[in-house]
Symmetry: D2
Subunit: 355 residues, 4 copies
């Protein structure tokens, strides 16, 4: 691609919430063109418009509406250069390795292989060098590969603390999340559970957050990644917001920097791919706000087209040294948008090969 024809894209799990966002984000994309959509047996053979309960305010792209939904089998996506996976984790666990074995580049939002030793858990601004893991992975699969992005509650946190880790070194962190309803997907909580309420539990979420961060911030070595020194503790809550995960972070940094020191690092951060011109890159990966009461989900989640993390209230923490609030859009940066940005980095690096 680049300069000539756009890559031909397939979307697995295209009828789900993440799939719908991908369809929306890919409309008019300069490098990628959706050629195929895949979903469950039940949907296969129907037109996308008929098989999908469309949940987004903007209209379904006309071009996609008429596509026939395919089964999520590698052989059915032979005409695609790149396959996005918005599959649920149990389904992804079965399907994604088959696609990789068949030579596909799979860019996945699923949690199924995030902890696999040769699979990058990628945030382009933070750890593009983790793509180095692909050498080993492709040797194993014979050419295809899986690249994953972090869980929706991890990605904003990782973006916000990456420059702090780089500048000072992170030792320990306590994070409390207030997560939006859309993060639970189309089968999310009932209105009766959420109205005038908070649910202080999201199955598996605290573990994901505690584990993924160490892999993201780790260094590649000997074909694997780790940051054994990092200690993270998470409390996760579901609150009544549509989109935007808010997180209250307390962090212990090497050398005890001041809130001003921390603010300067966040404010000047541009990430490792700022110069690459990836279409979905926000101008700034971190936007620092100085008002006493920001970020707020409804007001700030669309910052940088939903691809920036917004940080505010950087101040002293009596226990761990520094505390702040962060917000990131869970279905954009935290899911479909993060997946798309990963794919853009792969394209830029020449890791998508025409089949």
């Amino acid at each position: 691609m680049m300069g000539n024809k756009p890559h031909r894209i397939g979307i697995l799990g295209a009828t789900g919430l993440v799939g719908q966002r991908l369809v929306q984000l890919l409309e008019g994309h300069p490098w990628f063109h959706v050629r195929a959509v895949g979903a469950s047996e039940r949907s296969a053979g129907r037109a996308y418009a008929d098989a999908t309960s469309w949940r987004l305010p903007s209209a379904m792209p006309a071009e996609i509406a008429g596509l026939e939904v395919r089964r999520c089998r590698a052989a059915d996506f032979d005409d695609c250069t790149l396959v996005f996976s918005g599959l649920d984790s149990p389904v992804a666990r079965e399907a994604e390795p088959d696609f990789a074995a068949a030579g596909h580049a799979v860019v996945s939002n699923s949690s199924a292989y995030r902890q696999a030793v040769d699979v990058p858990l990628l945030i382009p601004e933070v750890n593009p060098e983790h793509l180095g893991l692909l050498t080993a992975q492709r040797r194993r699969t014979g050419g295809g590969y899986i690249v994953t992005n972090p869980n929706c509650s991890t990605i904003g946190l990782a973006l916000a603390v990456a420059p702090l880790h780089e500048a000072f070194g992170i030792k320990r962190m306590v994070v409390t999340t207030l997560q939006a309803i859309s993060g639970a997907g189309a089968e999310g909580p009932r209105a009766l559970e959420m109205l005038d309420n908070v649910v202080p539990f999201i199955p598996g979420e605290e573990d994901k957050l505690e584990i993924e961060l160490a892999k993201i911030l780790g260094r590649v070595g000997d074909g694997c990644v780790s940051f054994d020194g990092l200690v993270v503790s998470a409390h996760c809550h579901r609150v009544s917001t549509v989109d935007g995960h808010l997180e209250a972070v307390s962090v212990e940094l090497e050398g005890n920097p001041s809130p001003d020191d921390v603010g300067r690092v966040l404010e000047t951060y541009r990430g490792k791919v700022g110069e690459l011109g990836l279409p979905s890159s926000p101008e700034r990966p971190i936007v620092l706000r100085h008002e006493p009461d920001r970020p707020q989900p409804r007001l700030d989640r669309d910052t940088g087209n939903g691809m920036a993390v917004v940080v505010g209230r950087v101040r002293c923490c009596r226990v761990l040294g520094i505390k702040f609030e962060l917000l990131s859009h869970n279905t954009l940066r935290g899911a479909a948008g993060g997946t798309l940005l990963n794919a853009e980095l792969l394209a830029k690096r020449g890791l998508l090969v025409e089949r």
Copy 2:
């Protein structure tokens, strides 16, 4: 009182949200009888029913509806044995010392004198011995006195950690609150600020929480109270719930007890006034729940008539050792109910004297 006539009660700030809750809770109270209601100049002289924008679902008690609202001056409450104060802090700062100087027992929900050195910051179950401060205070005032209860976000936390402090000793704590809208009073946030949103800031709240806890858990000595060793860090949020402050707590305890150890201590806690038979005492000050997703504000806030703190999800914290969630009803235990329970303890201890 006790066995004979009920104490004659006055309520300062009776038209506000805390005042309304006091009016509601005192209806049919076995020991206390509301004789007088006070409010601002603007309301004085009007019937309580006319001066009040009643916000509670239950009907205004008929007996109170017809009372003439008085000015909040000590001389206007001479017929009362006990004065509750639901005044806003700036008003309380002026008025409460005048009442104490005039010989009144003032049981206040205001923050104005919580940190005064000879004023008890009282939770009957936790620190009834702090009433010892009254000796010094009454010497200073000539007989009247002020007793205060903690801020609505502090009181549940103090109740939950008091037995842990007693059993193990607390070293450090990180707490993140998700506070209900009613905590902001009748002039609380606009609907447009809260709908599909969270506000990650409540003016002054984090400071109150960090400071009050040390006074509550301190030991009386030489007429003052302190627990200098306690280090607390708070993040405070306003969320879209009507009542019930939820708090995610991470705590470092001496001797590294296990979650089971902590659960046992919480479950068997009865507090220091369990045997006194105070009318507003919950059967258990702490109710421990074992479901993975509790406590939840709408389902659990009325536990123990809104006077118990509900704790759940006691588990290991990688950073500080133990973490859990707690919930307490902010306008019952956290305000009017806490004030009332304090008054009941004073009555039981014979500290209310007929005038």
Copy 3:
């Protein structure tokens, strides 16, 4: 019963939302004692506490928690005098006739047989004389019978307009409902559908409302009921409230009474069973409020323990003559409470026979 032993009660569909409310309301009931609970095959054989995802703020009654869940078959409820049905309509359609055929008195909240010609659609205050239909029904079944209560959106409306129909005669009505989420049961709308949103459609609801009202207000004659002259049009909406259906009513009455005339009729209405002393009867079936902005769901739904309908804003309608707002609690008066009141009337009338 009455004076001696309480009736032995069975509850069909006991694990659902209506069933849970029945369990809650029957705790400590003076006439009725829950002996048996029934649910689906999946739940049968388990303890009620294990089979039920309890959704109510108050605790599950201890006595019921340990009951073994039975299958919903008539033979399994032989030890019960009276069977409440909180079954979903398709299940009720199969099961309820079997119970009636086996000699059971079935008091149902289901919509399955509301329109059956010899089944009373009963509101004790409004149409107790419809119990006359039971003679024909029992002749048909051989002794057992089904009595139903109206849909949750119909019952408040029927209560509010019954005295107007009696005093003036109703000609036509346009009603717009704003219905609470709990009305949709445990499988109600997702939080993502309701947050910052209104859904202007509830399947089947408008038809139910338009049809049921005519039956309720009809006169018994020749073993059937009808009020052919009544013309009703409904718009139904689901809004973000937990409990309490609000309805905006415009009505054309014979003789064009003034709002004052209408208010007087509503205010003095006591219904046809006021003197019977049924335990769940509210003191007044209709409570008229005079503030400009009432009724409101959160403030007024618990009026009369959730068994009264609250009417406000009675005023002129330029199109139909009179308009007003009404509110009734959809899971109390509108479901479990209405069912219970029906059963109390049956007991009082001697229509429950020991088996």
Copy 4:
């Protein structure tokens, strides 16, 4: 303008919610350029960014942020060709005639002069011929004039019924509104009033709706407008949505057209200015949806950039013949956007004169 320089625009009440929306919508406008912002004495002299509590998710336009806020006096806006007024009604009542007397074209969102006999209550698609009233008005003022747009709950209704009136003739209408919180402005209801609640009353709203519609649909004659035959009755509610007024409409039309007839008229409607190319005109003023459960506020309010009214559920009404649901964005089409579209029509018609 047009081909040469953009018109120089002033905004009165620029710091309020309507003013902020105008600032947002005018960013990059092809015909209009904001030169001046006006607000209360308290704000005058400060930079717009400092004087304004910005409530919109998108960032404040940098160009406007630095403007010095002016007093709302005609003399202070001499450099403007056109003045938008987002003033509150009592302030507008004083200020707007002064601006008109000084020769200004005032395009107002305020209700102050909507019923003035020579002031157009304008919806470009519906009644552009009402601009004929300006001849008389300008004769009276000496050259300046006021043009108004309808109330936020009227405008969507007027748009939806205008083609029905044109095609069939309207006789009577009952409308029930479910209005968003943003419609109440920055000083709207408290969160505690709206959470788990509906408020069935909006001061003055029902009257506005009933009166304005008759003026909008009236015919110009002898310098005044009226449609005496129209009978409208409204019930107005405030519900928990951020933006988007939903309205349930029952209407009696001449000749009893079928729902299909009505649907065809709505679907083919293009309004009277479709061919003018006004920048803020939606492609279609009415978008008809065929799903059973639409329109919904969160999903549909941004249709046509918030300038289209979305109609759905067109069906038979047993009482009045036809009923349907409509949705329009209350702060776009219903306020700032409607005002802007009016100004664009004035510009196109050459009614803005350089000063």
